[in-house]
């Protein structure tokens, strides 16, 4: 198992390297002078010169990349001219809402989608199956922000059960914190549930016809223990894989959902930074989200050895 973990860790290095090169070149590909762009519209020529010297823009491109990467690895993402702050500080300030939203969405998704998928497979061909599959296609097609506004309209404006928008820090009270997370999490979970329910159904269907399931039933085991212990356990690997891949959908959804609900997280920061052409912040957020995505999928790959002890790479 250790060599597998080692090899899997090594395999993430080229991926991370490509991500770093892409994010680095984002700024170098612009038509204008990167130093002037980073300095912003109100900068003096002295500011621009200082940034040029700091980034080493007069040196060869490869050397610039090495300087930039070295700073990133030390946690120095530069300074945001728009927010007048260190980008690393800015990110620390904004990380809580995003983590909270992502965690509640993930928990909600798993709690809803896996039972739905199992049910659809178990009741294959019935109206339950068709309803789940129809919801799944629909969930892929309705944009996150349309779902968001529909939910706000229904539950926050018409019924007035929940707050319309905003975020409350966990430190300021659990009740308000959770109340403001309900609608955003449900909004964000729709597409994710559609994805996971579909793959759960497909992978459970494959296991349902296996010999060991027939044996389990034949020895008189009830349906629920059969489904949980013999079917779901063996269907877990593809489900976990898609949950990992689906994190990309989740991250994209976070950007939109935070804008809809006015949540001051990293997604909202990305949009604000792009609109202000605040490139150091844009680069840092893209890099951070991508690294998180790669690491989550690394964990998913490593979980295979636990989920399916037969897997020996």
């Amino acid at each position: 198992m250790l060599p597998y973990i080692g090899r899997r860790l090594l395999a993430t290095i080229p991926v991370m390297a490509v991500v770093a090169v892409v994010v680095f070149s984002l700024l170098r590909l612009t038509a204008g002078d990167p130093a002037a762009i980073i300095a912003g519209d109100n900068a003096t020529s002295a500011d621009v010169e200082a940034i040029r010297a700091h980034l080493g823009l007069d040196r060869p491109l490869v050397e610039q990349f090495v300087i930039w990467l070295g700073r990133i690895l030390r946690g120095d993402f530069g300074e945001s001219f728009f927010f007048k702050k260190q980008v690393s500080q800015l990110i620390l300030d904004r990380v809580e809402p995003t983590l909270a939203l992502a965690t509640t969405t993930l928990l909600l998704t798993i709690a809803v989608s896996i039972p739905l998928g199992v049910l659809a497979a178990w009741k294959r061909g019935t109206w339950i199956d068709r309803a789940v599959m129809s919801f799944s296609v629909l969930g892929f097609s309705v944009p996150v922000f349309v779902i968001g506004y529909a939910l706000i309209y229904l539950f926050a404006i018409e019924l007035a059960w929940l707050p319309v928008q905003g975020y409350q820090r966990l430190a300021d009270g659990v009740g308000g914190f959770l109340a403001r997370l309900v609608l955003p999490s449900v909004t964000l979970a729709v597409v994710f549930v559609a994805l996971i329910a579909r793959i759960t159904r497909a992978s459970v269907l494959e296991v349902l016809n296996a010999d060991h399931v027939r044996t389990a039933r034949a020895k008189g085991l009830g349906e629920l223990p059969v489904l949980l212990r013999h079917v779901l356990r063996n269907a877990a690997v593809p489900i976990v894989t898609v949950i990992g891949i689906g994190v990309a959908v989740l991250i994209g959804g976070v950007v939109v959902t935070e804008s809809v609900y006015g949540i001051p997280g990293l997604g909202r920061l990305t949009v604000d930074a792009v609109q202000a052409r605040d490139y150091p912040t844009v680069q840092a957020v893209i890099l951070l989200f991508s690294v998180a995505y790669v690491l989550i999928n690394l964990l998913v790959d490593l979980s295979y050895t636990v989920l399916d002890p037969r897997i020996r790479y």
Binding site: P14, V15, M16, A17, V18, V19, V21, V22, V23, L26, L29, T30, A31, V137, L138, F140, S141, V142, P143, V144, F145, V146, Y149, A150, I152, Y153, I157, V164, L195, R198, V242, I245, G246, A248, V249, I251, G252, V255, V256, S259, T270, V271, V274, Q275, R277, Y279, V282, Q283, V285, I286, F289, S290, Y293, V294
Partner: protein, 285 residues
Amino acid sequence: MRLGNGSVRLGGAIFGIIVAVGVLAPVLATTDPSAIDPTARNRKPGAEHMVRGEDGRPRAVRHWMGTDTLGRDVYSRVVYGARVSLVVGVTVALVSAAAGLVIGLIAGYVRALDGVVMRVMDGLMAIPAILLAIGLVSLSRAGLRSVILAIVIPEVPRVVRLVRSLVLSIREEPYVEAAVALGARTPALLRRHVVPNTLAPLVVQATFVCASAILLEAILSFLGVGIPPETPTWGNIMAEGRALFRVFPHNILFPGIFLAATVLAVNMLGDGLRDRLDPRVGRRL
């Protein structure tokens, strides 16, 4: 031969209607979609309003979907918005499929390049599509072309992966071996034997790319980083409607319905085509 299953027919029918709406936009629209009318701001759906026609005489215009904060007719904007969504969706699908086919063929056939090409594709796929697109549009002045390019780049790696895996299995087929034994040169071999066998899955994948591109364009517009706000796109109409959403939900509702229906139609078309043409291809993720 029966043309497609239920999913293909329903999806195709809805898509056909949206295409017709886009093509016939000048006929269907009741006003100029960009015409600002300060006297007709924030009207509810169905409200009637007198405007001076081209001949100078006043005529009544019914705002089927109300008006926005600048007094623009939402119905006319929604109708014209179909054009942008369709152009973006179809163009991105075609360009991504073409680029993905070429790069995928190279990766699958030129073994020396495979490792490098696929590592680059893995890296691109590690950046969530919306973020990569947002980062790319921020580089240039936003317009139709830069938005299309910003959506193509995150979509291409998914096509490349598919084409490469197809090429890798096709090249082991006996008929390819036979063609090689008969002395077929690589370009002819690719053109006559490999490419035609990648087409069915490629068409299915292109359909899913189209659906995802329409969604991405709307998201970029909605976030205010896509096509400039004067242009009527579904995302722009919704972005405009955000401020007064509590009072006038129709500015988000109507374009939202059109957007969802279009994406749903394309997804159904893709699902149906996949079942029909190639059951091996998994769903786009």
